[in-house]
């Protein structure tokens, strides 16, 4: 190590043919963009199911795919932001469930106009996010623990508010949000795309976004570089919770304007985490890009929906999804191991 000399020689490209250099570039592309695999898998599976099933590529089914992405896909984006900083948010699914109940409750029982009910709901979600972030950064509470607390409380709150009975008679706006189409595309899918584009822009093109990566990649480095790492961490929890709130509001419409505590969102956080992992997000933080996260969410949804379309029993689907997740993790570790030798 002490004997390596960077100065004169290693500056220039190591000698080699152009072909070798190109192979080196491909290699580096694979090392530095693990998302390639997920995107290819998305396209491949989409093609496979389209050929295999008569119904999969029909507009009505793709609209279902789009609406699903308006739930788990949006949650995956928020979840990934948290994971990028090295944390985890287990509360998103449950919080989405509660948000749906709250918005409906404010609207029906509280008599608030729908836009105000939605706004108040999102503010409450934001407060939950601040609560997570502050406890994680100021009191060093493990994110796993504090979001698990919120998970439990929110499930309980949803049941407590409704006494287990669905809330009906909500404002038509809720239904319109979920059931309307713009050029055949369901609104939740558009919101998903909007969230992805916005997240991509913030992460890749703004200083705040790059600092989120820095905080997750090496907190000490971020601290020494005077990056306000605490407020960055708080902000990702807030975003994650608010996105969960949006998802919750969207679910009311899917249930024909009914907020049903039994539909809730529990379990969705696991799909969100799985999407992030499949999309190349490292659970240790600092690694993963929005294209991979979106592709991960889309891949899981294609698998879920596609298996239904080719008449795989609902009872077997979850097992297959789990197996896919296992294979994805395995491939990622093999890739890291194979290319790890280059890193030193």
């Amino acid at each position: 190590m002490t004997t390596q000399t960077l100065l004169p020689p290693s500056g220039s490209q190591p000698p080699g043919t152009i072909g070798a250099a190109r192979r080196g570039n491909l290699r580096r592309l694979l090392i530095e963009t693990p998302e390639t695999g997920v995107v290819v898998a998305c396209i491949g599976l989409f093609a496979l199911f389209s050929v295999w099933s008569n119904t999969f590529h029909q507009t009505s089914n793709l609209q279902v795919v789009g609406r699903d992405l308006g739930q788990t896909g949006i949650l995956a984006v928020g979840e990934s932001l948290v994971i990028l900083t090295g944390g985890i948010d287990l509360s998103v699914g449950a919080l989405a469930g509660l948000a749906g109940i709250l918005a409906a409750w404010f609207n029906v029982s509280g008599g608030m106009p729908a836009p105000l009910a939605i706004l108040v709901t999102l503010v409450i979600c934001a407060i939950a996010g601040v609560w997570h972030g502050v406890l994680v950064t100021r009191l060093d509470v493990p994110p796993f623990v504090i979001t698990l607390v919120t998970y439990t409380v929110t499930i309980g709150a949803a049941l407590s508010i409704t006494s287990g009975t669905p809330i009906t008679g909500t404002d038509p706006l809720f239904q319109n949000l979920s059931a309307y189409y713009v050029w055949l595309i369901p609104v939740p899918a558009l919101i998903f795309v909007g969230v992805v584009v916005l997240a991509w822009f913030v992460l890749e093109r703004t200083y705040v976004g790059r600092q989120i990566y820095a905080v997750g990649g090496n907190k000490e480095a971020a601290r020494l570089a005077a990056i306000p790492f605490k407020s960055r961490i708080v902000s990702v929890y807030v975003v994650s919770s608010v996105l969960a709130g949006i998802v919750g509001v969207l679910t009311i419409g899917r249930e024909s304007g009914t907020a049903d505590p039994s539909v809730g969102g529990t379990g969705w956080e696991l799909i969100a985490i799985a999407s992030a992992v499949v999309g190349g997000v490292s659970l240790f933080g600092g690694e993963g890009r929005i294209i991979g996260i979106a592709a991960g969410a889309i891949l899981l949804e294609i698998i879920h929906n596609g298996l239904l379309a080719v008449d795989v029993s609902q009872y077997n689907i979850q097992m297959i999804q789990g197996a896919v997740l296992g294979v994805a993790v395995l491939l990622d570790r093999l890739r890291a191991r194979y290319f790890g030798r280059d890193r030193r």
């Binding site: 190590m1 960077l6 500056g11 890749e204 820095a214 600092g286």
Partner: protein, 531 residues
């Protein structure tokens, strides 16, 4: 000599850049830094030397804001520095280049170079100006003397080799245009050419009126670059020397505080059988290595960073797979597939990082020292609390761990006591071969002597000892023979009678310098790492 000594003669009118008054810091009951008065002048390179744990890094940290000082005043250029804020320190013009490279591996070189700030030429406040970022990053690397284009600023930092990362870290600090640049062992991972570049930078900043605080592990290097050298020992400033007062002997004397003990002659009994025999042993980054260690013999392993010292220890222990060659242990072939095999064959390993690799810090002393012999002290597979307590007590006392109770968490002990407890644990399993990696890292001078006694005791009891260390004095003091490594091979095995620091360093650095062909960069006096 004393810290009340006046400013170095010949520089009476120099402006004070950093003024420290009564700065102190304690961790628990241990006061790791205590400086009643220290002034750093503009236009100087100030070398800081001291043994491990002398308080060098704490001093740097308090100045850079990464360590929250307990009390005292610091002024940088006349402005008060609030404690514990890296941001405040940077605002006042302090830049720290740490030896731990706080870089974000997943981000690009350019983003790391400008971590926490925006390009100067960019008017954008929120959006990343990637072109300006790349250009400024490239300019920063050129600024410290790297040839343009030698490092691709778009590369992820983790894909780069360690010396390059160190240079990036230096460029990062330099690019903040600091008034006070703190370099914490900046050359330890660099080759001679890059090291010369870094020393040149330090001189350059001093010449333009800045101040450099240079922590060095190589005394010759510190003496070469500094105008003034301060020596820390146990958190206190014990010497403040002008460049022309400095000799290496004097520095060493001040660092250890006259506690140098003279080695007693030690000769291994040639009648004892060879216990460990390596024949053409190879592993990733190691070998082929041929080496024999007799029972009752202490074999040192010396070498520069990355020479394969630790790899050798790890391969014999079974922690790293061997790729070829053979190992004989007590005359029988030994092929470890993991550390468990090593332990079963009678090998005890004391790894280099006590906190990460050896101890469960919050668990009790008892639990920590008995963990390797639980099967032995259980009756029919069931552990009795009384027996564990007794055994824990016996083991801890056998190695003189100073404690209130065996039930106290081992993390509450001092570093030296923790290390002794680890030796006790190793001895408890009656090993034939004791493998040591940096046996006294992070242990204060007094405790070192006791650890040396433990190593002696191991040899007297007939264990073969293989001890890797970066501290040459230590090896010269404890070993019967010293194997010197270079590029993964053993290039010399030196008997204790012939062993000198010069002989070891020549073997350790010899071919390295020849390969680079840059021996002229540094004066030929290579005295090597001392602290």
């Amino acid at each position: 000599m004393s810290f009340e000594s006046p400013a170095p003669s010949g520089t009476p009118s120099r402006a004070v850049l950093a003024r420290l008054r009564g700065v102190h810091k304690s961790y628990g009951p241990v006061r790791v830094l205590d400086l009643p008065e220290l002034d750093l002048y503009a236009g100087q390179v100030v070398g800081v030397v001291g043994e491990n744990g002398a308080g060098k890094s704490t001093l740097m940290g308090t100045l850079a804001g990464s360590v929250h000082r307990d009390g005292g005043e610091i002024e940088i250029d006349g402005k008060a520095l609030v404690p514990g804020s890296t941001h405040a320190a940077q605002e006042l013009g302090v830049a720290l280049v740490s030896q731990e490279f706080p870089l974000v591996g997943q981000l690009s070189v350019a983003e790391n170079l400008l971590l926490g700030r925006r390009p100067r030429e960019s008017s954008r406040k929120v959006l990343v100006d990637r072109k300006a970022l790349r250009e400024e990053a490239a300019a920063m690397l050129t600024e410290i003397g790297l040839p343009p284009g030698s490092v691709n600023v778009n590369r992820q930092v983790r894909s780069l080799p360690v010396p390059t990362r160190q240079l990036i870290e230096i460029a990062k600090g330099w690019g903040r245009e600091p008034k006070l640049l703190i370099l914490d062992e900046p050359t330890s991972s660099l080759g001679p050419v890059e090291a010369a570049l870094v020393l040149g930078l330090a001189r350059r900043l001093a010449k333009s009126g800045g101040t450099v605080l240079f922590i060095g592990h190589r005394l010759d290097e510190v003496a070469e670059v500094s105008d003034r050298i301060i020596v820390l020992r146990n958190g206190k400033l014990v010497a403040d020397l002008d460049r022309d007062e400095v000799t290496e002997d004097r520095l060493i004397r001040e660092m250890v505080g006259g506690e140098i003990v003279h080695a007693k002659p030690k000769v291994a009994d040639p009648g004892k059988p060879v216990l460990l025999k390596l024949h053409g042993l190879t592993a990733d980054g190691l070998g082929p290595v041929d080496l024999e260690v007799r029972a009752g013999e202490i074999m040192g392993v010396a070498g520069l960073m990355g020479s394969g010292r630790s790899r050798l220890i790890h391969t014999v222990a079974g922690a790293q797979p061997a790729t070829g060659g053979s190992i004989e242990l007590g005359g029988e072939p030994y092929k470890p597939h993991g550390v468990g095999d090593g332990a079963a064959a009678g090998i005890a390993l004391i790894p280099e990082d006590r906190k990460e690799q050896s101890l469960v810090l919050f668990a009790s002393i008892k639990d920590n020292v008995t963990v390797g012999i639980l099967r032995k002290i259980s009756s029919r597979g069931i552990l009795g609390p009384k027996r564990r307590r007794q055994e824990g007590q016996r083991i801890a006392e056998s190695v003189n761990v100073r404690m209130q109770s065996v039930e106290q968490p081992i993390g509450s002990l001092s570093g030296g006591n923790q290390q002794r407890a680890i030796f006790g644990r190793a001895f408890a399993s009656d090993p034939r071969l004791l493998l040591l990696d940096e046996p006294t890292r992070g242990v204060d001078v007094g405790a070192k002597a006791e650890i040396y006694e433990l190593i002696d005791r191991a040899a007297e009891q007939g264990m073969a000892v293989l001890a890797a260390s970066s501290e040459l004095e230590e090896l010269l003091w404890i070993c019967n023979r010293i194997a010197v490594m270079n590029h993964g091979r053993v290039v010399a095995v030196i008997d204790r009678q012939q062993a000198t620091k010069e002989a070891i360093m020549t073997a350790a650095a010899g071919s390295a310098r020849a390969e680079n062909g840059t021996g002229a960069v540094r004066p030929p006096a290579q005295n090597g790492a001392v602290a």
